[in-house]
Structure formats: C-alpha cells, structure tokens
C-alpha cells in the first residue's frame, strides 16, 4: 500500500485473539488516533465521474 502512495499510517495489521479484549481496545485506539491525525483522505476518494 505504501508503494502505491497510500500513507502508511492508514493501514494497520495486527494479530488480536478473541481472548485479547484489552489488546483489541489498544489497537483500535491507536488506529483511530493515527488516522485522525492524518485528516480526511484525499487519495482513493471517488468523486462522481465527470459528465462527458
């Protein structure tokens, strides 16, 4: 994803077991915080096609 020009912080990978509730919470918080920090996405946002 980074290779194609998407900010690294917009994509996160994590192993979270169904028993790891607290890890899940931490991960979600981290993800939302880092994405919020980046602001609204400007890439890969599909606008309505130009009318030909």
């Amino acid at each position: 994803m980074e290779y194609m020009g998407i900010d690294r912080d917009r994509l996160h990978f994590s192993w979270v077991s169904s028993a790891e509730a607290s890890k899940f919470i931490t991960v979600v918080k981290e993800v939302t915080a880092s994405v919020k920090a980046l602001g609204p996405a400007t890439k890969f946002v599909k606008d309505r096609r130009q009318v030909s």
Binding site: G5, S14, W15, K46
Partner: protein
Amino acid sequence: MIGYIDKIREVALKLLNEEKVDMVIGYRQGSLPMMTEPCFVKRPEDVETLIWDSNCRINLAAYLMDRKEKIGIIAKGCDSRNIINHLVENKIKREQLVIIGAPCKGMIDNKAIALQFGQDIDEYQETEDQITVKGGGTEKTFQKVDVLQENCAICNHRNPVVYDELAGDLVEEQTDIDRYEDIRKIEAMDIDEKWNFFEDMLSTCIRCYACRNACPLCYCPTCFVDESKPQWVGKSNDPNDTRTFHFLRAFHCAGRCTDCGACERACPMDIPVRLFTKKLGKDCLDLYGWEAGLDPEQRPPLDTFKPDDPNVGMK
C-alpha cells in the same frame, strides 16, 4: 537459438506421429514482421508451420489452463516456470505434457525497434546476435542485446526449469544483472511522488484487461472486477477504479509471477504494469527468499504458514 526450429519440428513430428500427444502448442509466423501467433498443430503434416525466432514473446502457458488433451508445448524459461505454477495450482497435470524446452537468450522488443527505425518495417531478419529490419528503402541492423524486451534483459532464468526434450543446448544464465533498479527508484520516492507517479502511469489505461487476459496466472473463472454480487470495483475508467484493478491484480499474482512480461506485451497503451508485479516479486524474494515457478513440489509463500514468517508491519 535460431537453429531450434529444426529440432522443434522434429520432436513435434515424432510426438504427433507416435500419438504421444493430441496437439503441439507453438508459434507460427504472424502476418506482420516481428510478430508470431501462438498456434496448435494437430496433424503431422502441419508441423512445418511452426517457427522459432526472437519474436516468440507470448507465454504459451496461458494456453494450457484446464485443457484435457495430451499436449506438447514449447517452453522458454518463463513459460516453463508458469507451467510449474500450473502444476502447483492443479491447472494441468504433468502427465498430460511433453515439454519441449527452449533455452532462451531473450525476446526482442518489436515496438522499440519500430520506434527507433521510425518507419514501417517490411522485412525482418535475424541472426544469433543481430536483428536487421528493412522498409521504405532503408535498412538498419541492431545488436540483439540492445533491443531485448526489458524483462528479458534482466531475466535470470533463461533455461527451462522443467522439460522433456530440449530444442538446443542450455544457455548461460545472466548473473550480473540488477533486477530491481526501477522498483528501488519508486520505493525511494516520497508518498505523494509515488501516488502521482502511478496516477500518471495509469492515466491512459482503457480498462481493457488485456494485461489480465494475457497473464497465465489470471485464470479465475470470474475475476474480481467482473463480480456483480458483490461488485468490488466500478466499471468505468474512473482513475480510482482503474488503480484498484491494477493493485489488486498485482496482489493476486504475488509469489506467483515469473516476470514473463506477457501483461506489458499485451497492453495496447504500453503501460509498464510490471512495476506492480515486480514489486511483489521483490518483496517475496527479500522476505521469503522465494522465486516463483522453480519447484513443482513447493507451495508459494502466500499459500503457506510458517511460525518464523516475517511479520512485516504487524503490531
């Protein structure tokens, strides 16, 4: 490499006469100079239509999927690696195949030659090392090494990996090549440069899917871009949809792509789509020491799990 054709015809004739195969898949002369057309030969008297030169670019493994016949097939290094992919992925059985290996010194880039020649080419001749084209009253001779297809110039598996017969002696493999210079250049760009680079590169894509259809790996009965329930990606030439198609196609080929170049050759707009697949090829090599299509006994890295797999970017 020029002399292979005698041996190819001899083997094809023998296979057909002895009914060892139902058909031989090879190349015949195209209607244009520097073009060949993949073809099949079923009758012994037709083996003379088979040819071999530096224009046998198309990956013949793309013609094998799910065939039921017994087949003789000509295989360059890349074709043979894709045949191994097919064997690993159960698209064809080894017993169905008689592989006529063609140790390869690279195929030439006909579009580049045409561009350099600057006018219509009427005639084409080649020797072991040289290409001569004629047209409009002039002629020009090229050194073959100067006009190789880019993927052939950086090829490190020129000899067939698997074969039953050989059309010629094995050739020396290239060792002093830098396969990933272009990829490193893109990797070094900053995030916006990368985005803009691919935006520009894909701007001429007409969504014809020639790259996919030429690819021996792309045999899904229904490609994800063609699914309607659910529909994963829009069908217009919207840049986001186009980009999605190219990225996802590359991911689907990760650890399987042999860099045969069929995709770029088929692209009517000459978009260097290998920049996607090669990146993943490079990652597979760096992370797993893996090159696709070398061993029919090994599963590809994205198809297996090992406890010591590197966890890139994993938290």
